[in-house]
C-alpha cells in the first residue's frame, strides 16, 4: 500500500495575510481558506504517511533562466526554505515550528523592506525537512528507466510558496519529503498529457515500494501574476477543473493544451495533472473554492 493519499492545496501567500483589516469579507475568505487547509491536514494525518511527495512549480529558486527544465527531482538529504512572513506569525496561523539558530534573532529570508519570499538571499533557512533520499533516487532511476529524462538537483531550496503549503500540512516536519519541481509558469510549459503520463510512471514505481507516500500537489488555481491581467481570475475554468476531478475523471485534465492553461491562468495545474496521473480516475472530494484578490484557491483530496 505505497500510495496512502493525495491532496491538492494552494501555495498562495495571500493565505497568510488578512489585510486590509477594514475589509471583513476578505478576512472571512482568508479564514475559510485556512480552515480548508486544516481540514486537508486532518486528511494527511488520517493517511498516516511517512513521506510526502511534494509536486510544486519552482518559483525561480531552483530553476532560473540559465536552466529551466520542465521537471526536476531533488535527491539530497535535507530540504529547507524560508517563510513568506515572520516565523512567529506563521507558527500562530499554521502551527509550523521552525529551526532557531544560536545567536540569531531574526529569521527573515530577506532584509526588511521587501516581501520575504521575493528573494533567496539568506543561506540559513528556518524550515527544515528530512528527505526520503533513497526513495527519491529510486524514483529518479525508475523514471529514467521508463523513458522520462528527468533532471535531478542537489539544491533542496524550497521557495516561500512551497514552504507555506508544507507549513500547513506538515507543521512539525515529522514526515519526510520528496520534492518534484515543475515548470508551471514559464512558457513553453510541459504538455498536460506528458504530465499525466509522468504521474502514471511515478505510480508504477510507488507501487513497488513499502514507503507510505502521500502526494501533495501545490498551487493554483487561476491567477496571472505580473501580467496586465493581474487581479483577474478565470473562475469558470477553475470550477470546470474541480467538477472534472470531483466526478472521478482526472484523466480528462490530460486533454488540456499548454495554451489553455496559460490563457486561463492555470499553468500550475501541471502539478495537479501529474497527481491525477498518479491517482487515476478516482473521485476527489473538493473541500472549498475561494476567490481571493488575484487568485482562485482550490482545496481537495483524491479518494485513493
Amino acid at each position: 500500500m505505497p500510495l496512502v493519499g493525495a491532496v491538492a492545496a494552494p501555495h498562495s501567500h495571500l493565505q497568510l495575510f488578512t489585510r486590509p483589516a477594514e475589509n471583513e469579507k476578505y478576512k472571512e475568505d482568508v479564514q475559510k481558506g485556512r480552515n480548508a487547509m486544516i481540514a486537508l491536514r486532518a486528511q494527511v494525518e488520517r493517511a498516516n504517511a511517512d513521506t510526502i511527495l511534494v509536486i510544486h512549480d519552482d518559483h525561480f529558486v531552483n530553476f532560473d533562466f540559465r536552466c529551466y527544465p520542465p521537471f526536476a527531482l531533488f535527491v539530497g538529504q535535507e530540504a529547507k526554505g524560508s517563510g513568506v512572513t515572520d516565523p512567529d506569525t506563521i507558527e500562530k496561523i499554521t502551527g509550523a515550528t521552525y529551526r532557531k539558530y544560536e545567536g540569531k534573532e531574526s529569521y527573515q529570508s530577506a532584509p526588511s523592506g521587501i516581501p520575504q519570499h521575493m528573494a533567496n538571499w539568506e543561506k540559513e533557512k528556518p524550515y527544515v525537512y528530512k528527505v526520503n533520499t533513497d526513495l527519491s533516487v529510486r524514483l529518479l532511476k525508475g523514471l529514467l528507466e521508463r523513458d522520462f529524462d528527468i533532471p535531478f538537483t542537489a539544491d533542496g531550496t524550497m521557495d516561500g510558496e512551497e514552504v507555506l503549503t508544507t507549513n500547513f500540512l506538515n507543521p512539525k516536519a515529522d514526515k519526510k519529503v520528496m520534492l518534484l519541481f515543475t515548470n508551471g509558469y514559464v512558457p513553453p510549459l510541459p504538455w498536460p498529457r506528458r504530465c499525466y503520463k509522468l504521474g502514471q510512471a511515478i505510480r508504477e514505481i510507488l507501487d513497488e515500494v513499502d514507503d507510505r507516500v502521500l502526494v501533495l500537489a501545490t498551487g493554483g488555481m487561476s491567477h496571472y501574476p505580473g501580467t496586465p491581467l493581474y487581479g483577474h481570475v478565470d473562475e469558470a475554468f477553475d470550477k470546470n477543473v474541480l467538477a472534472i476531478l470531483a466526478s472521478g475523471s482526472g484523466s480528462k485534465l490530460a486533454q488540456f493544451t499548454p495554451d489553455e492553461l496559460m490563457q486561463s491562468g492555470n499553468g500550475e495545474l501541471v502539478n495537479w495533472v501529474i497527481t491525477a496521473g498518479i491517482c487515476g480516475d478516482v473521485r476527489c472530494q473538493v473541500l472549498d473554492y475561494i476567490r481571493l484578490w488575484h487568485i482562485g484557491l482550490g482545496y481537495l483530496y483524491w479518494e485513493v
Binding site: 495571500l14 495575510f17 488578512t18 489585510r19 486590509p20 475589509n23 476578505y26 518559483h59 525561480f60 529558486v61 532560473d64 533562466f65 540559465r66 530577506a110 532584509p111 526588511s112 523592506g113 521587501i114 516581501p115 521575493m118 528573494a119 533567496n120 538571499w121 509558469y185 514559464v186 512558457p187 513553453p188 496571472y224 501574476p225 505580473g226 501580467t227 496586465p228 491581467l229 493581474y230 487581479g231 483577474h232 478565470d234 495554451d259 496559460m262 490563457q263 486561463s264 484578490w293 488575484h294
Partner: protein, 107 residues
C-alpha cells in the same frame, strides 16, 4: 474574459522572455543581494557581464514596469523585481490587499 489571448500574447505566445537578458539578470538578482544596489550604483557591471541592451538597462534602472513587461521580463520575475527593488507603488497601483504601505521601502 474576452481578449485574454491578445493581452497575454507577448508573454504566453511570443514568449519574449526566452530571448531577453532581463530574465538572466532578474534570476541572478534573486540569488545575489548586491545586484539590486549595483543597478543604481554601477550600471557598467551589467553592461560588462550581461548581453543587456541600453533600452533594457534603462527600463530596469528607471523601475519602468510597463516597459520591462514589453521588453520581455517574465511577469513573475517582474513581481519579484518589484519586491527586491522595493517598488511599493507597483502593488499600490494594483490595489493589492495588504500592500498599501505596510512594507517599508529598501531603496
Amino acid at each position: 474574459m474576452s481578449g485574454t489571448e491578445k493581452i497575454l500574447h507577448p508573454f504566453a505566445t511570443e514568449m519574449r522572455h526566452l530571448t531577453s537578458a532581463l530574465n538572466v539578470i532578474a534570476s541572478d538578482m534573486i540569488r545575489d543581494r548586491t545586484l539590486a544596489k549595483k543597478l543604481d550604483d554601477d550600471p557598467d557591471y551589467f553592461r560588462n557581464n550581461y548581453t543587456v541592451t541600453e533600452d533594457e538597462l534603462t527600463a530596469m534602472r528607471d523601475r519602468n514596469m510597463t516597459r520591462l513587461y514589453e521588453l520581455g521580463l517574465h511577469p513573475f520575475l517582474l513581481v519579484r523585481f518589484a519586491g527586491m527593488m522595493g517598488i511599493l507603488e507597483y502593488w499600490q497601483a494594483l490595489g493589492a490587499p495588504g500592500r498599501g504601505g505596510g512594507w517599508p521601502r529598501n531603496t
